[in-house]
């Protein structure tokens, strides 16, 4: 796979990957020290290659529907670290003016939309973007992420059926994480191959190693090309491992490790494997990679400092966020009428 990808692109991927990890580690540090509020006191590793590979294979005009693990896609699509961290700190300079928080940041200018934290119901909205693209002949592709946790949500199935029935340019990206620490999907499934569900909706499905950036990127590229040409939806199943690091001070990282797979996964495996390829193929030297690490760490540090000093959103803007008309009197009365 890597042979088809230019050295510049691979080096670019490395920088994005380092930025994603630096941002996540910073979030974990801030949360542990109670400097930021977290909707969930844990951070996941293992889905970075999926976000990066899929986003890199899309055009800027394409749309991404995120799940709760949205930071990776945001950074992969060129999101501003300052605006991401300001949102995480709940500040007015945040992408969503501090009302959304770290989960589900929505950034229309980057084509990133996000819905629910857990149930991935934003997939349904994806079909609307796809319908609009088809009706306006915009040739956009909509990549909608969902987790293996949510493959049994009715709305995911409704959306697949609608996408297929209406010939919509949708890529359903299933993040099939083998170590998900939630309701364990295997308990509730006869078939563990989520991709095969595409048969019921007359779609193509491809399974890829979700921990290999180059594979995800190349595979997505070829699927997206087909979707753009034929307006037929498809499923991309990305199999990955994951590591959930609890951020409560009462739990150590090692206790929360939950590895069932034969291959040891330490959270940084994706990056380590990718770095190895870059060294072997003489794309980047160790020194060059270290320079990238220093550069992105400084960017993250600056974003954190700026966000800490940022201003809180103003209460009078609350109804402006909600309605296109001026309903500020609603807040005054405290009631709806």
């Amino acid at each position: 796979m890597t042979e088809q990808i230019s050295k510049e692109t691979m080096a670019g991927f490395y920088k994005i990957l380092e930025t994603i990890y630096a941002a996540k580690e910073s979030i974990a540090f801030l949360a542990k020290n109670n400097e930021i509020r977290m909707q969930l006191k844990r951070i996941n590793y293992g889905e970075e290659a999926i976000a990066l590979g899929v986003c890199a294979a899309l055009k800027d005009t394409d749309i991404v529907i995120n799940t709760s693990e949205g930071i990776s896609s945001l950074i992969a699509r060129g999101g501003s670290l300052n605006a991401v961290f300001a949102e995480i700190f709940g500040k007015s300079d945040g992408y969503n003016n501090g009302v959304r928080g770290s989960f589900n940041i929505t950034v229309p200018e980057l084509g990133i939309y996000s819905a629910n934290s857990f149930s991935d119901t934003g997939v349904a909205m994806g079909t609307g973007f796809a319908l609009a693209s088809r009706l306006k002949d915009q040739k956009k592709v909509i990549a909608a992420f969902y987790d293996n946790e949510t493959v049994n949500e009715g709305i995911i199935h409704e959306s697949m059926n609608i996408a297929s029935a209406f010939d919509l340019p949708m890529l359903f990206v299933c993040k099939n994480s083998k170590n998900f620490k939630g309701p364990i999907p295997e308990e509730f499934l006869q078939s563990k191959e989520f991709g095969s569900r595409s048969l019921g909706y007359g779609m193509q499905s491809t399974t890829v190693n979700g921990m290999d950036v180059a594979s995800v990127y190349s595979t997505t590229q070829s699927i997206v090309k087909g979707i753009r040409e034929n307006n037929r939806p498809a499923i991309l199943e990305c199999v990955t491992n994951s590591l959930h690091v609890e951020l409560c001070s009462c739990k150590s990282n090692s206790e929360s490790k939950n590895i069932n797979d034969e291959n040891e996964f330490n959270g940084r495996t994706i990056k380590e494997n990718f770095s190895k390829i870059l060294r072997e193929k003489n794309i980047l030297t160790q020194k060059e990679m270290e320079n990238v690490q220093i550069e992105v760490s400084a960017l993250v540090k600056k974003a954190v400092e700026l966000s800490k000093a940022g201003s809180d959103p103003k209460p009078e803007n609350l109804t402006k966020f909600m309605y296109s008309d001026d309903y500020s009197n609603i807040l005054k009365s405290g009631g709806l009428l």
């Binding site: 609009a132 009631g335 009428l337």
Partner: protein
């Protein structure tokens, strides 16, 4: 002025908006065949790309509406049956209503939901007889409920042109009513109430088809020299509190008649508003005539027990006016 039926006024509004704006889409289940008559003739005029039939999957349909609304379309989603709102609550509230807020006001979602045949038609039991607007109001959604053909056309046009989701409830008991409706386009502003009959003794706040009930009772009570003012909010949220204040300032007495469940419902909210803001203007306790807190039963006498009606309203007015009930 010509008279047309309420349902024709609704269809006319929709057709007008589709004609002048290519971005208005109609989505629903059986909108091509037009089971309810709202979308009659639209499919042959505007074709499959603008009049879009969906498989029976309400959540998916609304999600699709949301995405296309953010992309610049103005979808009008028809719920064939009022209870479909329950099937799709997550998409209605958590997504269509809240996404603009969650984005920090960065996106707009111009989406109209129409619920033709809301409320009890009579004899169709508990799963086709609801008026589920109080839930939507609590979710923050703009809700209108036109009581006559004129308001129906004007409010639907306003809803389609609005940049936020608006739910338009079209009560089943007024769909066949005739009224004067101009042929040209006009709007009735969202958030603007209307005095359907002026009076000086008592204000009846009536919603949807209850406006007709109130008008009938008001006419009857004229013989008893009771002057009833009929206040039609037209928009349930945002509510026109200024016009209500004016009416109460004049009459000092209020009955609210509304065809949705009483507890935590729309009528209670209006009553709470009066108690909190306009207590100094009222001379008697507020009375509420609304649905009992049970589903609609099939049996005709039982159904009548649950629903608001003219006799109940008349009794309430008599009580407030200190007159003995007949």
């Amino acid at each position: 002025m010509r008279e047309i039926r309420y349902l024709q006024a609704v269809a006319e509004a929709l057709n007008n908006e589709m004609q002048i704006n290519d971005e208005v889409l109609v989505m629903g289940e059986d909108v091509r065949e037009s089971l309810r008559g709202v979308t009659k003739g639209l499919y042959s005029t505007y074709g499959k790309d603008r009049v879009i039939d969906f498989p029976i999957s309400e959540q998916g349909m609304i999600g699709c509406g949301i995405g296309s609304a953010i992309s610049g379309f103005r979808p009008v989603i028809e719920f064939q049956i009022n209870e479909f709102t329950f099937f799709a609550f997550e998409q209605l509230i958590l997504q269509s209503q809240r996404l603009r807020f969650y984005s920090g006001g960065k996106i707009k979602i111009p989406l109209t939901y129409i619920v033709p045949g809301s409320g009890a038609r009579g004899g169709i039991s508990g799963q086709h007889s609801d008026n589920p607007y109080s839930f939507l109001i609590q979710g923050g959604m703009k809700v209108v409920i036109p009581s006559c053909a004129y308001d129906a056309k004007g409010l639907l046009i306003s809803a389609i042109r609005d940049n936020d989701p608006v739910a338009v409830f079209l009560p089943t008991r007024v769909l066949a009513e005739k009224g004067e409706v101009p042929e040209e386009q006009y709007t009735v502003a969202i958030g603007k109430a209307d005095i359907k009959k002026t009076g000086s003794d008592i204000t009846v706040v009536a919603t949807g088809h209850c406006v007709n009930i109130a008008l009938e009772v008001a006419r009857k009570l004229e013989e008893e020299k009771i002057s009833v003012e009929v206040f039609d909010p037209r928009t349930l949220f945002p509510f026109d509190r200024e016009m209500l204040k004016e009416s109460i300032s004049k009459t000092g007495k209020v009955v609210i008649i509304d065809d949705s469940p009483v507890s935590c419902g729309f009528a209670c909210e209006v009553s709470a508003l009066i108690g909190e803001e306009y207590f100094n203007l009222i001379k008697a306790p507020v009375k509420i005539i609304a649905r009992a807190d049970v589903p609609i039963p099939f049996s005709e006498p039982l159904e009548e027990c649950v629903l608001p009606n003219g006799a109940k309203l008349e009794n309430a007015i008599h009580e407030l006016m200190g007159r003995a009930n007949a």
